[in-house]
């Protein structure tokens, strides 16, 4: 029985670069040109094995709140990793990438793993962002770099494998004794001591 670790991953990047498509490809191995912008998805999950652990990714999409620069700080809370996506065929989307990275440094957790994904690499013939430039930028901020194609299922799995590799090993779970918790419909039985 392998230990399961929940890892929150938040997606960042301009509207239309293919953030949802990447998640959709990763989680459901599906691509749709007319993907409806993420209606009803609070986050999607997928579990992948990594070493002696299972990594259960909880992948949060921006739900459109990036469109008018109105992402809430709660979006970044507790994220183990962030995937910042740009579109290799749109120079603009690469230029604003730096802004997203800056926002991440401001609001995101300090130890967050950052991955930069140049999506739509199936459209190499209309490429506007040279891979070298993007790679150098990623290196300068110690981020993972990969070019992906959600459409052709290229490098999407690899993106998350690379993230898994960078996730620091699990610490002793007993360290924190009075942890926080999520609310459930059925409250846990209260811990009563017998006397």
């Amino acid at each position: 029985n392998m230990a399961i670790r929940e890892l929150k991953v938040c997606l960042l990047g301009d509207t239309g670069v293919g953030k949802s498509s990447i998640v959709c490809r990763f989680v459901q191995d599906h691509f749709d040109h007319n993907i409806s912008p993420t209606i009803g998805a609070s986050f999607l999950t997928k579990t992948v094995p990594f070493g002696q652990e299972l990594h259960k990714y909880l992948i949060w999409d921006t739900a459109g709140q990036e469109r008018f620069h109105s992402l809430a700080p709660m979006y970044y809370r507790g994220s183990a990793a962030a995937v910042v996506v740009y579109d290799i065929t749109k120079l603009d989307s690469f230029q604003t990438l730096k802004k997203w990275v800056k926002e991440l440094k401001e609001h995101g957790p300090e130890d967050i793993v950052v991955a930069i994904a140049g999506n739509k690499n199936d459209l190499g013939d209309i490429r506007e962002v040279p891979m070298k430039e993007a790679k150098e930028f990623a290196e300068s901020i110690a981020a993972i770099f990969i070019e992906t194609s959600a459409r052709n299922a290229v490098n999407v799995e690899e993106l998350f494998q690379k993230i898994s590799k960078q996730i620091p090993p699990l610490q002793n779970p007993d360290v924190e004794s009075n942890e926080s918790f999520k609310l459930t419909q059925q409250p846990p039985p209260s811990t009563r001591r017998c006397c």
Binding site: P73, R77, K182, T184, P188
Partner: protein, 659 residues
């Protein structure tokens, strides 16, 4: 990506992202309304906001600037038969009597944190600093520089705390670590069976937040800080109570939960609670706990009201912890943001730094047809929801809350388990409640505590609360023998309570949301949001559960995974190394997800359709129990565990008396 224009047609336009507005936004969006949610500020949650330390400093600065209302002529946007109603465009903050005191040391220099004598010398000089006029920020003010000087002549204090030479935090460190603070403007807690918790769970918005139990209820009596026994185990282990008192308290609390209680206090219903407790022959000890910490009221509160509060308190015990209260990680400001996310997830459009300047009103129907936004764009809507203070208001607020926010260097009642969230009730003419937050609540940095004090305003926040601060903490103005945590930085301000607006003139399809009230819980805000929602969409369900992440399918897509069998571990089985992991989690039939249960034994309740049970990750480190009856039931069934539990409560208390 910047200059995109907003769509010009919505069902509901909402201005302001406070709790009430955000719940309305989520509720409307959830049932298919097209929602535009705006806030003129650059941050979420308005008066309910939570700030980093640096963010709070900017907020303080903003409060002292009164932004003048801009004048615009939008009449060119009008069509025949329409009128304009202008809104205030400047931010009417309504926060008054703002005062800041900084007691951090200015330099990176280690000082023994105890300097009683130095403190006393300083006192006279401090007098001036206390009178800082409202709005003036005094971050690098006199107190710290003076303490710097006095440190030289500091003699080691005899009553030194165990941590001897603790470094005093410098202001530079505070600024540097500022982003790790989350400082709420409003200080409230969540009752474990209150309206907000119920709504978070019912709507599945609870997925977006994590909580901590408030571990201790403390009170201040005769200058001492004592832990109030409220659960059975507390009562037993309490050293403050005699055996007789323990029995009496148990008997009394048990009787409070009895349905026949009204008969018991009939004659006292309108008489002061204190008289009733005296009549019950409860000791002074018990009277204090029962009045101030359990009913959280005053001795002269009518007995019926005090007992209702006591009952609510008792029913909330044991659902999540030994006190009735929860606190969200990262602060209360998270909660409105969580509801906003729910709204966005269902298609709501969000735009901060964007406002509404005027309403377009149809002369015939007198309904609001559209709004003119801050860019001059006309946006049509069927309903408009506004935060309070949008209309030029003449009447000054009648009720205010006095607030103090302190960053201290320790807990008022240190224990071995340092990481505790506590509520402290401090009896006074206007009872003060104090919430002490530890670093693991993600609201302050290690080595500090964040303390919120709140009371109904009698005078300015400083007048109302600084005597309490000086009594409970070490400040340049305090003088008590007991070792107490030191105040490093503090802020006082008054905030008006949400008031019934004089909205008689408003178009019928415009609603105004009130700001936070002075009570400890959130029932008022949630009731208000539901009322506004019902007005907009009569008969629609208020915040039905969102689908579980596992149930989201992109349009028309059928996953090729085989359905997971209940009782199996689909996650584990779905992920063969080297193989394409199946998307079994997307299968809409059933999804027993063992992943989140630490014990790995109890499959969670699966949410197979939208009307069903919560399927969010369970309470970490605790068992998640899925009662068979839960399956296939509507979420309203959540009331049954409630009654069940509250029934067990008296038994539990009775057990205690026998022990």
């Amino acid at each position: 990506m910047a200059s995109e224009q907003l769509p010009s047609e919505f069902d509901v336009v909402i201005l302001g992202t406070g709790l009430v507005e955000s719940v309305v936004a989520a509720a409307c969006s959830r049932v298919g309304q097209r929602v535009l949610h705006l806030d003129r500020r650059s941050y979420y949650a308005g008066k309910w906001a939570s700030f980093t330390f640096n963010g709070l400093l900017s907020w303080i600065e903003e409060q002292s600037k009164i932004t003048a209302s801009e004048e615009h002529d939008w009449s060119s946007q009008l069509e025949d038969g329409e009128d304009l109603i202008g809104l205030t465009t400047g931010d009417v903050s309504q926060v008054t009597n703002l005062q800041v005191f900084n007691y951090t040391s200015e330099e990176e220099e280690q000082v023994p944190s105890l300097e009683e004598e130095a403190k006393e010398d300083e006192e006279e000089d401090e007098g001036g600093a206390d009178q800082t006029p409202a709005g003036e920020t005094q971050e690098e003010g006199a107190p710290s520089s003076e303490s710097e000087v006095k440190e030289e002549i500091n003699t080691p204090a005899q009553k030194s705390q165990p941590e001897k030479s603790k470094k005093r935090l410098t202001y530079a460190e505070l600024l540097k670590e500022g982003r790790r603070f989350n400082i709420d403007l409003v200080s409230k807690l969540l009752y474990s069976r209150g309206a907000l918790i119920d709504l978070l769970i019912k709507s599945n918005v609870s997925r977006y937040a994590e909580f901590k139990n408030v571990i201790r209820i403390l009170t201040c009596r005769h200058g001492n800080i004592e832990q109030v026994p409220c659960s059975r185990s507390d009562v037993f282990s309490s050293k403050l109570l005699s055996v007789v008192e323990k029995r009496m308290l148990m008997r009394f609390l048990t009787s409070c939960l009895d349905r026949d209680t009204p008969l018991l206090y009939q004659d006292f219903a309108e008489r002061p609670y204190l008289e009733f407790l005296q009549y019950q022959k409860l000791s002074e000890n018990l009277q204090h706990f029962l009045i101030h910490s359990i009913a959280m009221t005053t001795p002269d509160t009518p007995t019926a009201a005090a007992l209702a509060a006591t009952q609510h308190f008792l029913k909330c015990l044991g659902r999540y912890g030994n006190t009735p209260f929860l606190f969200p990680l990262y602060g209360l400001g998270e909660i409105p943001q969580c509801f906003c996310r729910m709204c966005a997830v269902f298609g709501g459009i969000y735009c901060l730094r964007h406002s509404v300047h005027a309403l377009v009103v149809d002369k015939c129907s007198s309904r609001c047809k559209a709004v003119i936004d801050s860019t001059g764009q006309r946006i049509s809507c069927s309903h408009l929801v506004l935060e309070e203070g949008c209309f030029t208001q003449t009447a000054p607020p009648t009720r205010c809350v006095s607030r103090a926010v302190l960053i201290t260097d320790g807990s008022v009642l240190p224990t071995e388990a340092e990481q505790q969230v506590s509520i402290v009730t401090i009896p006074s003419e206007s009872p003060v409640r104090m919430v002490e937050l530890c670093p693991s609540s993600m609201t302050c940095i290690p080595g500090t505590h964040l303390v919120h004090l709140t009371c109904q305003s009698v005078g300015s926040a400083f007048e109302d609360l600084s005597p309490v601060v000086n009594r409970m903490f070490r400040t340049p103005d305090s003088d008590h023998p007991e070792p107490r945590p030191e105040v490093l930085w503090c802020l006082y301000f008054n905030m008006p309570e949400g008031l019934e607006s004089e909205g008689g003139e408003l178009p019928p399809n415009v609603s105004v949301c009130l700001g936070p009230d002075g009570s400890l819980g959130h029932d008022g805000a949630i009731a208000q949001a539901e009322l506004i929602f019902q007005k907009i969409l009569p008969g629609e369900e208020f915040c039905p559960p969102g689908p579980a992440p596992e149930d989201i399918l992109y349009q028309g897509e059928e996953p090729d995974a085989s359905p997971a069998q209940p009782g199996e571990e689909p996650e584990a089985s779905s992920s063969q190394p080297g193989e394409e992991p199946e998307a079994s989690s997307s299968q809409p039939g059933e999804e027993p997800d063992t992943g989140t249960s630490n014990q790995g034994e109890e499959p969670e309740a699966s949410s197979s359709h939208q009307g069903e049970a919560e399927a969010s990750p369970t309470c970490k480190g605790e068992e998640s129990e899925t009662s068979p009856s839960q399956q296939g039931e509507e979420p309203d069934a959540s009331s049954s565990p409630c009654t069940e539990d509250s029934d067990t409560c008296p038994n539990q208390l009775e057990d205690g008396t026998q022990g």
